[in-house]
Amino acid sequence: MTNSLAIEVLNLHRSFGNTKAVQGAKFDVKEGEIFSLLGPNGAGKTTTISMLSCLLHPDEGDARIMGYSIKDNPMGVKSVLGVVPQEIALYEDLSARENLTFWGKMYGLRGGALKKRVNEVLDVIDLHDRAKERVSKYSGGMKRRVNIGVALLHKPKVIYMDEPTVGIDPQSRRNILDSVVALKDQGMTVLYTTHYMEEAQELSDHIAIMDHGKMIANGTHDELVKLVGGQTRIDLTLNVEAGIVQEIWKNTDGVSQVSAENGLITVLVEDSNQALPLLFESATKHEARITSVDILEPNLEAVFLHLTGRALRD
């Protein structure tokens, strides 16, 4: 990861009639990182992506993609860009291979290089076996994978993925999330939008939270979680009465609170990785066995709730 910026978003605004879809989007994406736009449906993620792809003109503001302004140099922007649209954008009556071949040509690939790249992409999206079937016969997950594959053909420097995992089976979802990480490993910059906080958490170097067209928070996962001031909650059960163990845990480093109810002990800690070994150690000392552990880290869901007063999936 270098420190130069792949994407600079400078105060983008866009309305549709009275709907203010995006109001002042502002964020930077460093080269080679995965950046997530997290927000519920209607937050303005797709509108932002469309402006950054030069499909929609912003009412106000500008953005630079690898230095090219979306206003002044859309052709430059398009030349470094791969876009995975939210809606599947494929020719249903053509096969996966035919689709990839056609789109490869649109990205300027020809002949042997095109054929080689189509095969590589078919490997990445794991569809070599059924490459000859018409896309219309594919499952939702397979279509999504082809939809992504198309944007990878020309090895773009920057790739946008707009909710690529909506409504698909777990296996395809896994394949997609893995391929996003693989893209980063190859040095691509990924701008990823989602309303699944688990995905944002798993993938992203940086996350921006959007709601009602506004950016309400922006930072690394840990930075965002700190906004809630939250600590990790650990729920434990023991094979003996809590008694002394509970008292000892209260005085352990990094533990701020211990309570017990119906045999379930709840411990609040700063960092579960630091605290857990200490908790096990002291339990062993007092001949108690920990029979179950449940770590509940403060999450983006909590952050969103904290910032908006609403749950993310409303």
């Binding site: 030069c54 860009l81 040509k105 649109m106 198309v150």
Partner: protein, 400 residues
């Protein structure tokens, strides 16, 4: 630039996989041409199915011999007399020049007298003598006048020897009757615009170009739906995120639908020529030029509709209007020859009227290559205007 061809090939691949497209574009028009042609021929007959060459006629001679010539001409299977006593020789000249008439025939006063007195009788003919229509007419005129001449001579000779017993007029009529089957038929040895004038075929000569255009203009729906489908499947938006220029995207789709419609024309022209005996290939380069320009024009109208329409339903309803208005106005249903002057003039707002003119100038009227140049230019101009409008519209609409 090469992306234009890539897009066109992709479109054609998609269209050809759809059996319905194939049925609609090729089989249906062939069936309908046959069906309508025979229905038309069956109960229409007469004028409706008249494919004889229109020849203006002016009789300035009073002698009964000239009347006899007139009757022979009226019965001709090659020539259809257009008589209007109010028309002057110069008016006829103008009509021939404009292609409304294939030729005009004037019987000068004294013609009957000259024929009877065995002098070199002369008819006045106005025609473009370079056209093969003229060759056909000339042959027919020669055949008819030689019959008349022969009858006159025979009757004169008979009159000399049997003047008292057989009145001259009776002798003339009898001889003319006997000559009804002339020993040498010149007609069959000349290249003729209308080879056969069997009623069914004659009406097909008029319905075939109309049917062909009717179905070709239905092809604009295919053109429109190519764009609408591209938009609906979100692939148009995706294309716009690549470096391919908008004009290339549009040209690609245009090329595909053009190829489709032109192929349709070619098939129907060949079918019409070889199976229906409609003389499309009399001047093949002219017929195909008209087909080429018509396809350019129809594909461009379809493109414009596709760019304007928001969804398939709109594309269909937007297509129906030009399909009916343009083909109705343009004489695809009722040939403009059989409508009034005013309607014919208004009809030529429709590019279809020009396409009909182009095809019929070759297949029915027997004109040469020159006669399709103006229709071709008009059609190409329409095509250019419609294409530019769609480009303007695509650039003006933001895709989201």
């Amino acid at each position: 630039m090469i992306s234009i061809f890539d897009i066109a090939i992709k479109d054609l691949m998609q269209l050809l996989r759809d059996f319905k497209t194939f049925m609609f574009l090729l089989l249906m028009p062939i069936l309908f041409t046959l069906l309508f042609g025979y229905a038309f021929g069956g109960f229409g007959g007469g004028e409706g199915g008249d494919a004889r060459l229109p020849v203006g006629f002016l009789n300035e001679d009073e002698r009964w011999v000239s009347e006899a010539l007139h009757d022979l001409l009226t019965d001709s299977e090659i020539i259809r007399l257009r008589e209007n006593s109010s028309l002057s020789a110069s008016a006829l000249d103008l009509m021939v020049a404009e292609g409304e008439l294939a030729a005009a025939l004037i019987i000068p006063s004294g013609y009957g007298k000259e024929i009877l007195s065995d002098k070199n009788a002369r008819l006045i003919v106005i025609a473009d003598t370079n056209t093969s229509a003229w060759k056909t007419i000339e042959a027919e005129l020669l055949s008819i006048t030689s019959r008349l001449d022969g009858a006159a001579r025979t009757a004169t000779i008979m009159d000399k020897y049997a003047g008292e017993r057989i009145p001259f007029k009776y002798g003339f009529d009898q001889t003319l009757e006997a000559w009804q089957e002339p020993p040498i038929s010149i007609v069959e040895t000349t290249s003729s615009a209308v080879k056969e004038t069997d009623d069914g075929i004659a009406s097909l000569a008029h319905t075939s170009p109309g049917m062909m255009l009717q179905f070709a203009i239905a092809g604009l729906l295919t053109a429109a739906s190519v764009i609408v489908t591209e938009r609906k499947s979100r692939t148009l938006q995706r294309l716009l995120t690549t470096s391919v220029k908008r004009i290339h995207i549009l040209l690609g789709h245009y090329l595909a639908t053009f190829i489709l419609i032109f192929t349709q024309f070619t098939t129907l022209i060949l079918f019409g020529h070889f199976f229906l005996k409609i003389n499309y290939l009399r001047v093949p380069e002219a017929t195909f030029l008209v087909a080429f320009c018509s396809a350019l024009c129809i594909a461009a109208i379809g493109l414009l509709i596709g760019v304007i329409a928001k969804d398939e339903e709109q594309a269909v309803s937007f297509s129906l209007i030009p399909m009916f208005v343009l083909s109705g106005l343009g004489g695809a249903w009722v040939p403009l020859e059989f409508t009034g002057e005013t309607f014919r003039a208004i009809g030529h707002i429709s590019p279809i009227a020009w396409a009909m003119d182009g095809f019929k100038n070759i297949s029915v009227r027997g004109f040469g290559f020159d006669s399709v140049i103006i229709p071709a230019v008009v059609l190409t101009t329409y095509a250019t205007v419609f294409f530019l409008l769609s480009l303007w519209r695509l650039n003006a609409t933001e895709e989201s």
